[in-house]
Amino acid sequence: MTQITRGTIWFRVGPPRRLAGLETRGYAVRFGVLLPPAEGPARWTALEAEGRRLLAEARRGYGTVLLPVLIAAGPAVPPPVNLDYPWSPDAGRDLVTSRRAQWRETRRLLARASSSLAAPKPQGATDLRALEKRARAALDTAVDAFDHLEDTNLASDAHALAHTIAELVAGLFGCWAERENGRWFDVCRLSLMHLRVGMSAGFSGRRHCSICGCDLTLCDHMPGVAYPVVAGRKPDGRCTICDSDICHTHTPGVTYPAVPHAITRQADLHEISAVARPRDPLARHNAIEIPPYAVTSLPNHDAANASLRCEQCMAPCTGFTSAEEALGFA
């Protein structure tokens, strides 16, 4: 590897995050979904199109969460701030302290609004659990958008949105590390987004055509060529054009140009490599062990009922770690 591949946003304050010796989990490959082409202009087009869709969806999701919060807490809600850039240590500390107090007040007002509207719930009442679910889903979508857009000029938009939503999630609902067999794992989508390592799986299997569903070696559809396809919904509810389960773009019954992709439903896995740019942009870690030295200094860290709350998302960004840095090559 000859260059640092952190994407368009690559500052990093402090030493890089290394993976050596840590237990990790993640997706190596997703089956039954449309994967972008392996390389070339068609890949960049597919990544950007899907990234734009995800970014718009994340913005919509954030909006639907923010609205009831603003109704309930009004001016107590801290306005978005540039958390996607590094701040000086002193300024960052002051920022976090003041905004933590604002989020605490927002949370109190939101809880009050939620409980005062408790059973029987009128229409539009704030259901905190549903709100939290929507907020975390919006964060997931924003991170997925970044993973698609990292090499485009929309990467900074996706990065900023992910920070904004993550701060709201941490401020309103809180985030916790997961514990398994005495080890603590970082499962925060925002934190893991800043580690630019993906998984590339070597596998072989039969490929099916995304347009007709037949064996791709048999059907007449040519990868890379657009065919007119009438939009509809598959039995599982997915769109016949984009395969999304919540498609807002393609109207059933209307004809759209669609480029056939290979869909793998079953495969033999031969090897997995850690890479900077995985073929599947979402084939990434979803849990990374927190180094024991970072936990042992915390009080009661080994108590059976201990929980580890993380507020990292309320602090300004400290930058990205490239695959080379994470794997110890740089």
Partner: protein, 169 residues
């Protein structure tokens, strides 16, 4: 010392490839061979898939070495060591039009793979292996010729081999 732009070398044809080719040397003009055979299944690349479809659409009698679809799998593109890797068997009945179509497909594939690579000399190579029948008296043998390069010149050399041009000594 200058490095040759394209190298052609004789390579042994694996036994499984010989078997696949000799099953039906006269039924097709161009046979696409798998990158490897695993548990009896031919492991093809996406390049191969597009190649067979493109050539058939252009009227060339091209086919997979594994004629039954359940014997074919497609491998994920996970190797960065080679930009393009194709293994062909050219039948003696391949006409000049077929050679032109095969060259056109290979040229498009090579250009696509090399697009955006600033330093082609140091980038992953393009490798095309041409297998073809040779007659020595009554004996029919398959010779394997591997063409390796870093640019479109590979296609010119492959085209000459498809036309029956001489192999290197």
């Amino acid at each position: 010392m200058s490095v040759p732009a394209v190298t052609v070398e004789r390579v042994p044809v694996p036994e499984w490839a010989n078997d696949l080719i000799l099953r039906r040397p006269d039924q097709v003009d161009l046979l696409i061979l798998p990158q490897r055979v695993r548990d009896g299944l031919g492991e093809y690349g996406m390049d191969d898939l597009v190649g067979v479809k493109t050539l058939r659409a252009a009227g060339v009698r091209a086919d997979w070495a594994h004629s039954e679809p359940e014997d074919r799998t497609v491998a994920s593109e996970y190797s960065a060591d080679v930009a393009v890797s194709v293994v062909l068997f050219v039948g003696q009945s391949l006409a000049q039009e077929g050679v032109v179509e095969a060259a056109r497909w290979l040229l498009a594939r090579v250009r696509q793979a090399l697009a955006g690579r600033p330093d082609r000399k140091t980038s992953a190579p393009v490798v095309v292996q041409v297998n073809r029948l040779t007659l020595e008296g009554d004996r029919r043998e398959i010779e394997g010729l591997r063409v390796t390069g870093h640019d479109e010149q590979v296609v010119g050399v492959v085209t000459a081999l498809l036309q029956g041009g001489p192999a290197p000594k």
